[in-house]
Symmetry: C2
Amino acid sequence: VPAAVWAVVVAGGSGSRFGRPKQFHVLAGRPVVEWAVTAARSVAEGVVLVLPDTRGDVSFGADVVVAGGPTRSSSVRLGLGAVPDAAEIVVVHDAARPLASEALFRAVVAPLLDDPTVTGVVCALPVADTLKRVARGAASVVETVDRSELVAVQTPQAFRLEALRAAHATGADATDDAALVEAGGGTVRVVPGERGNVKLTTPDDLVLLERLAPGER
Amino acid sequence: VPAAVWAVVVAGGSGSRFGRPKQFHVLAGRPVVEWAVTAARSVAEGVVLVLPDTRGDVSFGADVVVAGGPTRSSSVRLGLGAVPDAAEIVVVHDAARPLASEALFRAVVAPLLDDPTVTGVVCALPVADTLKRVARGAASVVETVDRSELVAVQTPQAFRLEALRAAHATGADATDDAALVEAGGGTVRVVPGERGNVKLTTPDDLVLLERLAPGER
């Protein structure tokens, strides 16, 4: 019997950097959150969608909709609570990345199916740009950072359900689920991410995403 | 009299990560290097183009073409040698970023015109992705990096010509000119970069750039 995979798509943000909840913006004819749910479904038996509120009957194609919490971690925790215990693997994905491909979802799940010593899998790209440290609130460079061993992590990220629940049970807050699993001693693999898997953060990103969305030209 | 601005566009790479010299790929009807020279010209009286070899008569719109060296730093040094001494400000730009806008070129030059205490200006974006350290050659995460004070630097970068020449006179090698200026004690300002100012590194990036190039849809 193949391992049961579920997905948690997190769209809990209130859009403070965006002006309005970015996850509901319509991108090439579909709400951003629906793009994310559709891609997650390609590898998952079921999809839990975490929304800022449950918004009446609108599920965007998810099987279960739950209301999120005040932080990303709390929203993921609430989503994990709705995943059936029979699931073995859970894929966590930010709704703000609508263009993650189905192939990318398969790529993060595969190492967990193949290797029992793997606790989690993230997708990431090499850091192509020079990184500099700028003091908070300042406008000048403090130092240039060695980027040779750094990667920029995206979602989707896949985990053994039990391990991710245990990591979140500590109540710790993190912008990234894998960081919690690493803190618990888990082994997190890295597979290649996608350049087109852009995170919708500011209105400018929408222009980029509109150009990248399939079927737009 | 306004300060004289020149530009050095560096296209010295041999394309080892790309398979062939990426700077000559035709993007939306024009070679990548020509996009870069055209944008640089918008703020500069003259443009020095550094090529792997001088390629006969092809200048891609630059005023001066010089042959590059074995490293990026050596190529920039050779380009700086061809900038007239009368220039006060030099803008350095990687040809592998064909879609940097004219507005971005103006933005990196402006602080040097306005504030005599500024030695250099880079453009950069906040680091939107979680960063993780992966040991060289390994496939698992070592640690998650605090990104709160980090920015991802792009080109164009602008400098006082004298300061950049002095920084390069040390013969030090760096992937980034501002790092040399910082090492020499210069004050480097940071202005906002552009999400569309993508660096052409791998063939996949070309797909992204083709979609982003103006006039393509």
